[in-house]
């Protein structure tokens, strides 16, 4: 049972500012993911939670008790490191029982516990093996056991990109195994997990905190982070996107029914309609576009505001020929490139917008047979369901270029 409070935590190394005034809360028994690009300050944040690094400013509270000045040892947490950090000169049992020995816990108890976790993780019989002799999966289990054995009252497990250095196939398996154990109901753990892979984050998180350049960008459920990203960085971090400059329309009544559900009446669209409301956008095409924004921020958009409309490549739909009349939120254009990407097909469609040419990316799952219809140089209509359009205030072209890495 533990909840963590970070209050205005800052840290800099010389002139480099690693973390800027971060406040966040991790609830008890929550699986909390810290997501962000390499060098964004994620690991520093973990080290501050675990006590390996002292913050320049701010407080760290475990269950409302200030632990900012405590050493890592006094916090009794489980920390699983990048590449596991198994001590290369100690065998499996010595590695696992290390915390018992250095903390002078009852040796009998430690021995029993070690036997128990070895049984639990199917590692019996390899007691004398050195880390280099173990397979990747075994190493992971040993590392997990080692950190679990250090937990007393504070049931906090910290994972620092444990799967970073593994190759893709193994990583999938080990990820599943790790998550199964970390999320198991018996252990009642609070988990803080750092990763730079959105897939991993989506798969397991109760909540995600996105960190970029030392700043906390957004905290929310995977659903929120994916469908209501707070800015272009978060949107772009999750998957490939298209973006359009536009202007918010508030005064006119819509020329089409923006309250009607785009798809069939299913749970997902119902949820979107409940938690968010429609907004009209002028993309300077002579047509009205619509997207949905979350209820709590819908008042912040006024008529004439410059906004950015973002549509994920996998949310774009594609049809042959000119269907501008039938489909709303649609563009007419020509396929200029078709590429097989393994899991999906990726199309680049050239459209005209605001008297300029613009390339829009559309992806279709490779399992659907329809991709065969779409050849290069064919004329197509692309459109998107208004529930899947993402809108936020225009951050300025400079920021857009920086985030999308055009320059």
């Amino acid at each position: 049972m533990v909840k963590i409070d970070l209050k205005n935590v800052s840290k800099s190394y010389g002139k480099f500012i690693a973390l800027k005034n971060i406040s966040l809360q991790v609830k008890d028994k929550e699986y909390f993911i810290i997501l962000g690009p390499t060098g964004g300050g994620k690991t520093t944040l973990l080290k501050i939670i675990s006590g390996l690094v002292k913050p320049d400013d701010g407080e760290v509270l475990f269950d409302d008790i200030d632990v900012t000045r405590m050493t890592p040892g006094e916090r009794n947490i489980g920390f699983m490191f990048e590449n596991y950090a198994l001590f290369p000169h100690m065998n499996l049992v010595d590695n696992i029982s290390y915390s018992g020995r250095v903390n002078a816990r009852n040796p009998e108890m430690t021995k029993k516990l070690v036997e128990q976790v070895l049984m639990m993780t199917l590692l019996t019989g390899r007691n004398e093996a050195l880390p280099e002799e173990l397979s990747g999966g075994m190493k992971q289990r040993v590392a997990l056991c080692r950190s679990l054995l250090n937990l007393e009252q504070t049931k906090l497990l910290i994972l620092d990109e444990p799967l970073k250095a593994l190759d893709a196939g193994l990583r999938m398996n080990l990820r599943r195994e790790l998550l199964l154990m970390a999320k198991s109901k018996q252990l009642e753990l609070t988990v803080v997990h750092v990763t730079n892979e959105e897939e991993e984050a989506m798969m397991v998180a109760d909540r995600i905190a996105v960190i970029n350049q030392g700043e906390l960008v957004q905290v929310g459920t995977p659903h929120d982070i994916y469908y209501y990203p707070k800015d272009l960085f978060v949107a772009n971090f999750m998957s490939e996107i298209n973006y359009f400059d536009g202007i918010c329309i508030r005064e006119e009544s819509p020329k089409w029914d923006i309250y009607k559900m785009s798809g069939q009446k299913d749970n997902f669209y119902t949820q979107i309609h409940e938690e968010s409301s429609p907004i009209l956008i002028d993309l300077n095409t002579g047509d009205q576009f619509a997207a949905y924004i979350k209820n709590d921020v819908s008042n912040e958009y006024n008529h004439g505001d410059k906004i950015l409309l973002v549509v994920r490549a996998n949310h774009m739909k594609i049809r042959l020929g000119n269907r501008l009349n039938q489909k709303k939120n649609s563009f007419f254009g020509k396929i200029i490139r078709r590429k097989f990407m393994g899991v999906f097909y990726r199309f680049e469609v050239l459209i005209g917008i605001n008297n300029q040419e613009k390339t829009v990316v559309v992806t279709i799952p490779a399992t659907s047979e329809v991709h065969n219809k779409f050849k290069e140089n064919l004329e197509v209509t692309i459109y998107f369901p208004k529930e899947l359009g993402i809108v936020f205030k225009h951050p300025g072209n400079k920021v857009v270029n920086e985030v999308i890495k055009l320059e």
């Binding site: 920390f79 000169h89 080692r146 910290i158």
Partner: protein, 555 residues
């Protein structure tokens, strides 16, 4: 079809050839495999003649002259086996001194290396340079400084003073090796142990120490062999005590060649055995990591005790190492060196001549080692000759490990009047010896940068049509420049500071360190102080140059 293509490619090559500039044409011409093989052969012949030959020769000399050695050393008409007893005594003293000095060094080096790598404080760089200084300063100047410092406290020449001296000049070798390992090792494992609740000392003992095992053993053995072979400082600090290298110098001075060759052979054999044991012991042997006394170690890790330990370390560092090394500069203000130097026996002229001789020998040693060192480094890193490379690689360290007096004597036997008779003791023989013992100091840094350099860049240049020699000139050489400069400075400082081998082969010429020994023995203290100060400042300058080169290389 295929033939046509080949023809086309051939034709374009010829066209390219015609348009090349002269230097590139020369590169192309000499890039032919036959020249590369020629250079490899010359380099290896050089290595065998200079390093391997004299060492093999001394053992064969001993075997061939066993009867005369026996009659001279073990059954002399007048003194019986007194020389053998002397030899055994001197070996005993050398080993005890080296053992005690290395143990003392290790105790001081642990906290020092941690302070220098894991802490951040003002003046860290200066402290780091000061710790390195005793390595660059000629040991005779260092020894003289130590003699003067401890003389204040009434410690006269003898075994305690030898130990104090050896602690000073072997200390940097141990600290440096520990520092390298600590800097390389990731703090990841230490962090892991800390999150598991280990206190500072427990982390050090169970995690850091086992990981720096290799650096510790390598440093200790290197320091041990250096202590075993040291001559310059020991001559000044020993009084009537004779360590093994000093006994060699003594035998050589009295022209007792059989006894000298026996002792030199023994010393060389021991040092080579120690060298090989580095490779053996670093793989085996473990520290006790299982048993932990958590409460005691937690108590000892307490902040105040840590500060106390760091404070004690710094005090010892200053009193035992730093002040004695630099004491002589302060002494300069006490005595009247001008009177001593410009008296009737022209000491200033001797000083000038030996200073020039030292610089010439150092500079020529640098040039010769540069010519053969670069190709040798290439052979070690690039050629795939399997066992031969392993052998050459191991033999390369031999001149570092064996006592320089013994090495000097081996070269004297091989090339001098008693052997091939090509050189007489004097300038060229000194140069020859200096080339030999400083060769590894040139090659090792170059191997270091070659191994860490980016092969991809060279291959890219080759695919773009550059000949091998052009690639070397335009791509490889600039990228290993730092290593070469570092090697040159190392060779020069070692040559400048060497005493033992020089005394054995010098004839009538004096180098600066030998001159200092002579003057101290002749009680011309004020002049010796002046000469030592000059040479210490000169070496300090070289050390700072070396660090500047390394720093730029690091970026």
């Amino acid at each position: 079809m295929l033939k046509e293509n080949t023809f086309k490619i051939g034709k374009t090559t010829r066209q390219v050839e015609a348009n090349l500039s002269l230097s590139l044409k020369i590169d192309r011409f000499f890039s032919k495999p036959v020249y590369r093989k020629g250079l490899d052969t010359i380099t290896i012949i050089f290595f065998i003649l200079v390093v391997v030959g004299p060492i093999i020769n001394i053992f064969s000399t001993i075997f061939l002259n066993l009867p005369s050695i026996y009659s001279d050393v073990f059954a002399d008409d007048l003194i019986g086996n007194l020389k053998w007893i002397n030899i055994l005594n001197s070996l005993g003293i050398s080993f005890s001194v080296a053992t005690i000095a290395v143990i003392a060094d290790i105790f001081l080096a642990f906290p020092t290396s941690i302070i220098l790598t894991r802490y951040n404080f003002r003046g860290k760089k200066i402290l780091d340079a000061l710790v390195d200084l005793p390595m660059a300063v000629p040991t005779s100047a260092l020894g003289f400084s130590i003699l003067l410092f401890w003389g204040i406290f009434g410690i006269n020449p003898g075994i305690p003073l030898i130990i104090l001296g050896h602690i000073v000049f072997t200390f940097p070798y141990i600290v440096r090796n520990m520092k390298i390992v600590l800097e390389k090792s990731d703090t990841l494992y230490e962090d892991a142990a800390r999150t598991l609740g280990a206190s500072g000392i427990t982390v050090f003992r169970t995690i850091t120490l086992p990981m720096m095992k290799e650096g510790l053993i390598a440093g200790a053995i290197l320091a041990f062999t250096r202590s075993l072979g040291e001559t310059g400082a020991t001559l000044i600090l020993s009084g009537l005590v004779e360590t093994a290298p000093i006994l060699i110098v003594g035998f050589r001075r009295q022209l007792e060649l059989p006894a000298a060759s026996l002792l030199a052979g023994i010393l060389i054999a021991i040092s080579i055995a120690l060298l090989f044991s580095i490779k053996f012991f670093t793989r085996r042997g473990n520290f006790p990591v299982k048993r932990v006394l958590p409460n005691l170690e937690r108590f000892l890790s307490h902040r105040y005790l840590r500060h106390f330990r760091d404070g004690i370390t710094l005090i010892f560092l200053v009193i035992i190492i730093l002040i004695p090394s630099l004491f002589i500069i302060w002494q300069l203000t006490e005595g009247n060196f001008i009177e001593g130097l410009f008296s009737q026996d022209y000491k200033w002229a001797y000083l000038y001549v030996s200073f020039m001789a030292s610089i010439q020998i150092g500079a020529l040693a640098v040039v010769i080692n540069l010519i053969f060192g670069i190709p040798f480094a290439f052979i070690i890193t690039k050629r795939k000759w399997g066992k031969i490379i392993t052998f050459l690689d191991t033999m390369l360290d031999v001149p570092i490990a064996i006592p320089s007096a013994a090495l000097g004597f081996a070269i004297f036997l091989f090339w001098g009047p008693a052997g091939l008779g090509l050189f007489q003791p004097g300038f060229f023989m000194i140069l020859f010896v200096h080339v030999t013992f400083s060769f590894p100091y040139m090659v090792r840094p170059i191997i270091g940068v070659l191994e860490s350099s980016n092969v991809g860049v060279e291959e890219a240049a080759r695919t773009l049509g550059a000949s091998n020699l052009t690639v070397f000139r335009k791509i490889t050489l600039p990228s290993i420049k730092q290593g070469i400069i570092a090697g040159c400075i190392m060779v020069f400082t070692r040559s400048l500071g060497e005493t033992g081998a020089t005394i054995v082969v010098m004839g009538s010429i004096r180098t600066i360190p030998v001159l200092i020994v002579d003057w101290v023995e002749a009680n011309a203290y004020s002049s010796a102080i002046f000469a030592s100060t000059v040479v210490i400042i000169f070496s300090a300058f070289l050390i700072f140059a070396l660090r500047a080169v390394r720093r730029r290389g690091g970026k």
